[in-house]
């Protein structure tokens, strides 16, 4: 029987009683590259955080590989939004990537040689190995993003949740990262990516989750990427809407 990497039912989240996400039901199949799109403040980051228990939920439930998140946390990798940390923090690139191993090391264990090798490999995959000893404040935005990606790779997970991994990344790096994600997917991993650019979203992802405080649509890209549904998602924002509508037309 195939496992369901991620399933949510009636997932509801509120910050200080103000709901930002209502009743999200999704069932993400294994081995898919899934894009999460929606306007600013749509609750994309919130959804990801709620899945991992970083923000408390007010209703509904989440199952990761058929069990609670806490039980299967080690099977989930995470790339937070880059702005979520202080890049002047006194650590170097290797320190950060090694953090991806902490979940497996446990509370008291030590960082082993194998952990370091895995971290180095992950860095190599994103082309950042030469920067291993660099202090993180000396990195460009795109490099910081790649370090976060390497950290998630070092987690060696089966399900990845990535919050805007392409922000500040140049086109060639973006292509390389997408290549990397496809390779992960082909090895049976499931990857959810919050993404802001609609035209590329259409080409990158197998499935799309359209989100705006609620789940507008979720399904295979070719079924969901329609003018009507996008309008529903981005509704009320005329400029974006017309721009997107044009792009959609161009794409067809």
């Amino acid at each position: 029987m195939q496992e369901v990497p991620l399933e949510t039912h009636d997932l509801t989240v509120a910050y200080d009683k103000r709901p930002v996400l209502y009743g999200v039901d999704v069932q993400v199949p294994e081995g898919k590259l899934v894009g999460i799109v929606g306007p600013n403040g749509a609750g994309k980051s919130t959804l990801i955080k709620a899945i991992m228990g970083i923000v408390p939920t007010t209703g509904g439930w989440v199952k990761v590989f058929g069990q609670s998140f806490a039980k299967n946390a080690s099977r989930v990798g995470y790339v937070p939004q880059r702005e979520s940390v202080d890049w002047d923090f006194p650590v170097n690139v290797m320190d950060v990537v090694l953090m991806g191993r902490y979940g497996r090391i446990g509370l008291m264990g030590r960082v082993s040689k194998a952990d370091k090798e895995i971290a180095a490999e992950s860095l190599d995959k994103v082309g950042m190995l030469p920067y291993a000893k660099r202090q993180i404040s000396n990195l460009s935005g795109g490099q910081q993003q790649r370090v976060f990606l390497a950290r998630a790779l070092a987690q060696e997970s089966d399900l990845y949740l990535m919050d805007e991994p392409f922000v500040g990344v140049d086109a060639s790096t973006e292509a390389a990262i997408i290549e990397l994600l496809r390779e992960l997917k082909n090895r049976g991993k499931t990857i959810l990516v919050v993404h802001h650019d609609l035209p590329t979203a259409q080409t990158y992802f197998d499935m799309l989750m359209l989100l705006n405080m609620r789940l507008v649509a979720f399904g295979p890209t070719e079924e969901v990427f329609t003018q009507e549904l996008l309008q529903k998602t981005y509704g009320g924002r005329l400029t974006i809407l017309s721009e997107v509508a044009n792009k959609v037309r161009e794409a067809k």
Binding site: P80, P90, V91, M99, Y102
Partner: protein
């Protein structure tokens, strides 16, 4: 209080045993005479300003460093422990941007101290510890309550709780002072600290907290690290990040509370922040920061206790903070990466380099304007090109000569500059950078040719070799800049350096015959 070497010398001289020992070993008479003279001068002066005081001063120093005194031992031990826990916890405070929180916490404990005293009826360390902890927790809860229920921002609620609790504390302290036993109470010491007033129980408490801090940070270093850097990620890995956050806050609260007697409520937060901030300037790894901050903490603590002891029980807190601030000042000035002095030196050397590169470029241009005919460049031509008096150009050339890439020769009463191969290579490189960049801006970025010169003046000094290669590739190895001048290519320049064929038509890279 004066720290005069004369005091010390005179004291040595006055101890007869020392004088005798020196004499016995047949020390030169001169030394003895000087010592005697000093002794005489000292006793004469001593008689005037009070012999007692000097003896007391040096004896105090002696007493402090030999640690014969139980009071000194307690104070010293307390300061060392305090330095360690303040350094460790302070490091986390600084990197988590919780300095203001630390400040609020340390002021909020004050009413608890007073109430602890009032309840116990005396200066009972345990009662005061409990009172202070409760008050600290209460203050923290209030900050969070204000933040959660209103839209007042955190810094404001921190400020309010700090001032409010501190005010209550001061009022209560005044009450206690007015009690019949009040003047002997010693509660006033909780404001600015008095290491000498530490009881052994209090030192045990400080030691306990320091030990707990060291052990916990050693064992759970990674948990504290990841919780401070990226708590969301820690939670996402299923680590009990919340638990470790509270553990850290608890350690912080205990550190503040047990440090009160030695540093005082007003300045505890300074002892948390300053050593850690100094360490932050020196290193870029968390574990080194923790070690350095502890060392600075110990140093400041001991120094503060020492001066307080010397100064007949001056308040310890301000002196410790003074010591810590001196350390910080040194780090601020001399830190290899972030220090003011090193930054200034770096800027100076960069400016000097740019100046030299501009001179090289001008030499290239003068030669170019003569079709690269002569090998030397006349100083007056150079001055004209640089649009400056000849005296300035001479200084400029002297600077260049000092870097070893240029010779200045007098020929028939005129000065000529000759670049050696190294200098010529550098000159070509600057010119190439400039012209490549101009070309890039006009060709690829589509600027007008008259818009690009100023920009290139800056860029030419910062383009790295890798970027230059990329630019050359991008522009398909161009030979002319937007103004129609030749661009010396890297390959050409290097070739011209190895094979000098005298007759070859100048593309600008032919070396002067040496």
């Amino acid at each position: 209080m004066k720290l005069d070497i004369g005091y010390v010398l005179r004291w040595w001289a006055r101890t007869s045993s020392f004088a005798k020992a020196t004499a016995d070993r047949g020390a030169p008479r001169g030394v003895l005479a000087v010592l005697m003279g000093l002794a005489f001068a000292a006793s004469a002066q001593g008689a005037r300003i009070g012999d007692m005081q000097e003896t007391v001063f040096v004896e105090q120093v002696w007493r402090f460093f030999t640690m014969k005194d139980a009071v000194v031992r307690t104070a010293l031990l307390g300061s060392v422990f305090l330095g360690i826990s303040c350094g460790l916890l302070g490091s986390f405070i600084v990197v988590r941007k919780l300095s203001l929180f630390g400040d609020t916490l340390s002021h909020a404990v004050l009413p608890g101290v007073a109430i602890g005293y009032l309840v116990a009826g005396q200066k009972d360390p345990v009662a005061i510890f409990i009172g202070a902890t409760v008050a600290g927790v209460l203050g923290t809860v209030m900050v969070n309550l204000i933040k959660k229920t209103t839209h007042i921002k955190e810094d404001s609620s921190l400020g309010m709780v700090l001032a409010g609790f501190y005010g209550i504390g001061i009022v209560l302290m005044n009450r206690i002072q007015k009690l019949p036993t009040g003047t002997q109470s010693g509660v006033d010491k909780f404001l600015f600290g008095q290491a000498a007033a530490l009881s052994s129980v209090e030192v045990w408490m400080i030691g306990g907290v320091a030990l707990a801090a060291v052990v916990l940070v050693l064992v759970f270093y990674r948990q504290f690290l990841i919780g401070s850097f990226d708590i969301g990620f820690a939670k996402a890995m299923g680590l009990p990040a919340g638990l470790f956050h509270y553990l850290l806050m608890m350690l912080l609260a205990f550190t503040v509370v047990v440090s009160l007697q030695a540093v005082g409520a007003v300045l505890v937060s300074a002892m948390l922040v300053i050593p850690a901030a100094s360490a932050y300037l020196l290193t870029e790894r968390m574990h080194r920061m923790l070690i350095l901050a502890s060392v600075f903490g110990i140093f400041s603590g001991v120094l503060g206790a020492f001066f307080s002891f010397l100064g007949n029980s001056l308040p310890t807190g301000p002196l410790m903070v003074l010591a810590a601030s001196s350390v910080f000042t040194l780090c601020f000035l001399f830190s290899p990466r972030h220090g003011l002095v090193s930054r200034w030196r770096k800027r100076r050397s960069r400016e000097a380099r740019i100046r030299n590169e501009n001179t090289l470029k001008a030499i290239y241009q003068v030669r170019e304007s003569h079709g690269f005919a002569g090998e030397g460049v006349k100083l007056t031509d150079l001055a004209e090109r640089m649009n400056e008096p000849a005296a300035d150009t001479r200084r400029r050339l002297a600077d260049l000569v000092a870097t070893g890439v240029c010779d200045l020769k007098e020929i028939e009463g005129k000065s000529f500059a000759f670049l050696n191969p190294d200098g010529w290579l550098k000159a070509c490189a600057v010119v190439r950078n400039h012209r490549l960049w101009e070309l890039y801006l006009t060709n690829q970025a589509e600027y007008e040719p008259d818009h690009v010169h100023d920009d290139a003046e800056v860029i030419e000094h910062v383009l790295g070799e890798e970027t230059v290669r990329r630019l050359e590739r991008l522009l398909d190895y161009p030979s002319e800049d937007p103004h129609g001048k030749l661009i010396p290519s890297l390959a050409d320049v290097q070739r011209s350096l190895t094979q000098v064929s005298p007759g070859e038509k100048a593309t600008g890279y032919r070396m002067p015959n040496q």
